[in-house]
Amino acid sequence: MTAPAPVRAPLDLTATNVQRARRVRNGLATAFVYGSVLVAAIPLGFLLLYVIKKGAGVVDLDFLTKDIPIVSRLPGPGMGPAIAGTLLITLAATLMAVPLGILAAVYVTEYGQGSKLAGAIRFLSDVMAGVPSIVMGLFIYTIWVLSFGQSAFAGALALGALMLPIVIRSTESMLRLVPNALREGSAALGASKSRMIMTVVLPAALPGITSGSLLAVARAAGETAPLLFTIGAARHVNLDIFAGSNAALSTQIFANAQQPFLGAQDRAWGAALTLIVLVLVLTVVARVISRRFTLR
């Protein structure tokens, strides 16, 4: 084992200043460690305070429900279409990515144990998790938007592609926590493998899978880059996911932040507060679920 520093003992064993040097070094390291927590926490505190302070003055019922104004220079509500759009797009992305991701994880852990194909799928989902979100946007633009136009569905495809590897990874780690005794018990009762997975393995891992998927949803809900070229820009609520352009909170923040007008910037702060609250609620629910029902 690597010897810690004190083994190189000083020749002058009575020298108390050697001890002091060690204490000082330890103190400096401790200060650095505490300091780094502060360095991360302080900007976060400022950011949250600012979003709450600026956003709270803007967000009211009108802001949450009214259409996005045509003239961005003017102050006033609202963000209704963007809120509806974000919920719609994220929901559609979830419906596509979560079942697919869970099934893929089932294949990797339950069917493909040790097989080359399962190993390859694990590796590829790692690669996919590293694809920059803007590249996902470009990808959906080239394969979908060029032929079918911008729509909420195109945005959902891009978000779903971002979520997929996260869902696979988190589901996979949860399935690995399910005790083998449960699988063996089910097999001993004569259940087929698919039945075992559906009635024993997945229910046992359900809380973990749910919380992992919610974290993926929260991540997707805040994404901007994949939506920039895929959903267009709408000022009215559009509930048709396959046709017509749509709006999202994140893209609205991006567009309004770059405006020199205070009215637009205020709307950006209001949208930011709404989006953060949405994402935090999802995150907290995910944490509560995983804490309440943790498999051990």
Partner: protein
């Protein structure tokens, strides 16, 4: 699990109550489920292939037009169809380097705090803070960076620029700022954004250090810091490098926050307080109003960025993967 096939082979006699399907249909359903699962797994492969093929195809015209000049040329002039992305590639590297330089020591510090230094109460609070930092959408970081941080921090830049004025090298890197929108501001924002991921990956590595080694260090009379240096760091080195590389991959691909605060000017420069541009930011800012060859050139930028992040992530996994398998051996050294 090897028991299942044999069980499936003898569904003779009436199926047990509650199992609605007879043997044949059961086997069929079983097979269908397995195929569905396999197909879902393969969808990852299909999507990755589609990404590579479709974006390369769309990038083709610009890449054929520019050839190698696309990555070696530094003139980006869409109005005359000249596309050299070097300034953006270097911008991405500069911003990522700043982000890493700021985020890595802090992340290691927080990871150490969480795994060794923190009292129980503070640890929980710190975990919440890091979770929160990870939960803030990137566009909100960008909004805050653009409207709050940039106008404020330009004064700090001014002061630093005045201070290092007479020093060679440094006065080039830290020259007079124009606005707060610069490489450095983008680096700060990205540092905040990659801190949670680097922290949690590093912490996972720290938590795998065998208790015996830490106790051995304590028993030798080590201070806490000496224990960290003697027991934790040697064990975690490759995992820490892997975490840094994954953070780098994240920083390179981060788009929106950088697009808002980097200042958007295509210049090949090392002036960190000056405005610049980065690959992902250029795509986000120019794609909407582009057409023809310009649009193709922007997709090509996505292809290059994709390739760069894949390389970085592969290296990260290659390095970090080794820790896990080699851990016991290292422990006994």
């Amino acid at each position: 699990m090897t028991a299942t096939p044999t069980l499936d082979q003898k569904p003779a006699g009436p199926p047990p109550a509650g199992f609605g399907l007879d043997g044949k249909r059961r086997r069929l359903a079983d097979r269908a489920f397995k195929l569905a699962a396999m197909a879902s797994g393969l969808s990852v492969l299909a999507i990755l292939v589609l990404i590579a093929v479709s974006t390369s195809q769309k990038a083709g015209p610009a890449l054929r037009d520019e050839g190698l000049g696309y990555i070696t040329g530094s003139r980006w002039a869409p109005n005359v169809d000249v596309f050299g992305a070097l300034a953006f590639i270097s911008g991405t590297m500069i911003v990522s380097a700043i982000a890493l330089a700021l985020a890595v020591p802090v992340s290691f510090g927080i990871a150490l705090f969480l795994s060794e230094f923190a009292p129980r109460r503070l640890r929980q609070i710190t975990i919440y803070v890091i979770d929160m930092l990870a939960a803030v959408p990137s566009v909100v970081f960008g909004l805050w960076g653009l409207i709050v941080l940039a106008p404020w921090i330009v004064k700090v830049y001014d002061w630093i620029a005045d201070t290092v004025e007479p020093i060679p090298v440094l006065n080039v890197l830290f020259g007079q700022p124009v606005t707060g929108r610069s490489f450095f501001t983008a680096g700060i924002i990205l540092a905040l954004m990659i801190t949670p991921i680097v922290t949690s990956l590093t912490r996972e590595v720290f938590d795998t250090v065998p208790t015996g080694q830490k106790e051995a260090a304590w028993a030798l009379g080590a201070t806490r810091w000496e224990m960290v240096r003697g027991a934790i760091f040697p064990h975690s080195r490759s995992g820490m490098i892997g975490a840094v590389m994954l953070g780098l991959g994240r920083a390179m691909g981060e788009t929106i926050a950088a697009a808002l605060v980097i200042g958007s000017s295509a210049r090949l420069t090392l002036h960190l307080f000056g405005s610049g541009d980065a690959m992902a930011a250029v795509i986000a800012n120019q794609f909407g109003e582009s057409g023809g060859l310009h649009r193709s050139a922007l997709v090509a930028m996505g292809v290059v960025l994709f390739a760069m992040t894949i390389v970085v992530n592969m290296v990260a996994r290659a390095i970090a993967g080794k820790t896990v398998s080699a851990a016991p051996v290292r422990g006994r050294r």
